[in-house]
Symmetry: C2
């Protein structure tokens, strides 16, 4: 017998995505968001509050980058989720991190994190209180340090943090459990 | 200097969500999807191919459930991602799992997994090749076995699998890295 927990946004695991944009004065803004998801091979959806400085910046610049937060810079990632750029004008400077302009989109890439997605706005959807930005991923930039011998991302080297909404905590990625499109093959022939 | 990896849907971590629906004849269908994301306190977005049996079922029944896959039933979860209900009519039976009808929505709940979200269709968005279903979460059902002393979900007891798109692999959740809305506090006062 299962127990009812009520209405909760309980998807596990959830990412810690850092959305980086330029403010009107050209300074860098970064917010922390877990309510993001891949939509297709080249699209990502961000579910935001329209009042965020990030939302205004995305509407004005038509671009943003997504950085996957890692354990090494968890402190800064968490700070980006606590501080509000609307009230703290030097939010990014306080993090102690550095950014450089993307060559492809009008948005900054945070230098210290090893993986970023450069995105152009594909579509903005307003639905009542929900404000969704669909971004087109135009390139992925990665540090050599997180790549495997094939030149692709090694999740253990990337060391992304997992957000646990129920426990208000962050976790590391654990041991490998299995191979995708492989573990279920025996049931295909059962 | 960061390296360009091209256009890739690289968000880390990603979930393994099992979308359960009823076929026209009342039989159960389950598909495995990583391209899902929480949209708000009570909404979840599924990004599907409109040709899936699941997409047809959702349009007809206006409902679905989302089950978070755990390590214990990783094999079945992977199978749901390999097999196509359009070609394999007894897909769910082959998994060896059982389902029961949700009391709240017109969709099945898989009994063996400990966490499911019951959802009604809020909106369907067609955008070129992209087919997005926004579901309203009307309740979350959990086995007692995954709850902590406060009656909320304990992510380590839930033991969800993490999908690694780059490495085509599944991982377990590892050690706790920190507390959300806490690790960044020192930077607020810096």
């Amino acid at each position: 017998m299962k127990k009812s927990l009520g209405v909760k946004p309980y998807l596990f695991p959830m990412p810690v995505a850092l959305i980086a944009t330029y403010n009107e004065d050209g300074s860098v803004n970064v917010m922390n968001a877990a309510w993001v998801g891949i939509c297709s091979e080249n699209k990502i959806a961000l579910n935001l509050d329209e009042e965020h400085a990030t939302s205004r910046n995305i509407k004005k610049r038509g671009a943003f980058t997504i950085t996957v937060s890692n354990t090494e810079h968890m402190k800064q990632a968490d700070f980006f989720g606590i501080a509000t750029a609307n009230k703290m004008k030097d939010k990014f400077e306080r993090s102690g991190l550095k950014a450089e302009k993307s060559e492809l989109v009008d948005a900054p890439i945070i230098k210290e994190y090893p993986l970023s997605l450069e995105c152009k706005v594909h579509k903005i959807i307003n639905d009542g209180n929900d404000f969704t930005v669909i971004g087109e991923i135009v390139d992925v930039k990665a540090d050599e340090s997180i790549l495997n011998e094939k030149g692709d991302v090694d999740i253990k080297k990337l060391d992304p943090i997992v957000f646990d909404q129920a426990g208000r905590s962050y976790y590391k990625i654990g041991e490998k459990a299995g191979r995708a499109w492989h573990e279920g093959v025996p049931l295909m022939n059962a």
